[in-house]
Symmetry: C2
Subunit: 117 residues, 2 copies
């Protein structure tokens, strides 16, 4: 019997807690950090888009050949939520480690969910 299940990728849902709140406020630093993290993971970067909330807080996405990175920051809570959807050869763990360092997160929690049919 044919197995109709197919995994299209893994979805990493990552919580960065007790970050340096100043690092989370504005697009410039968050964008630079997410790009550095994407490069570390050996993803193939296609396009990137960021949104500045008023007075602070950032949403951002980086499209990669392997799917995407997205980030949302809540400076007032010293929290950033990241997700990495990957359906190719890359190293999400290296991106997570790099962002932990750059955002100065004290705690990081990661869930990995299989995506697909």
């Amino acid at each position: 019997m044919e197995d109709l299940r197919k995994e299209f990728g893994k979805h990493y849902l990552v919580e960065f807690c007790d970050c340096d709140k100043e690092k989370l406020k504005y697009v410039n630093f968050v964008q630079e950090s997410l790009l550095k993290a994407a490069v570390k993971s050996q993803a193939t970067i296609l396009q990137q888009f960021f949104h500045q909330f008023d007075p602070f807080g950032v949403s951002g996405v980086v499209f990669i050949a392997e799917s995407h990175f997205s980030i949302h920051t809540w400076p007032e809570d010293r929290y950033a939520g990241l997700d990495i959807l990957t359906c190719g050869e890359m190293y999400p763990e290296l991106a997570i480690e790099e962002l932990k360092r750059l955002l100065e997160a004290k705690t990081v929690k990661t869930k990995v969910i299989a995506r697909g049919i």
Copy 2:
């Protein structure tokens, strides 16, 4: 004792299976569909970005005040993967229902993951 846990939102990971493959090939239809779905959910749309893969396949994101929608399509497999991160008042289920209809998905599977500290 203070409860330090905080939920920032819910992350809906949604698999659309056995779609009409023609609907998944190009940005135009996927973008229009995702926007219709976002409107149905009563999200506040901020910005939207889409990427066309060659020869077909689409990645897209819609930033909303409540966080984001993202979609990736694999026409050859008649599959689309959606995620909705929401940290506000909106109705993700209505968006999922609308996209099921528009992409003509035979099967839809949804996981809901709590995001936060």
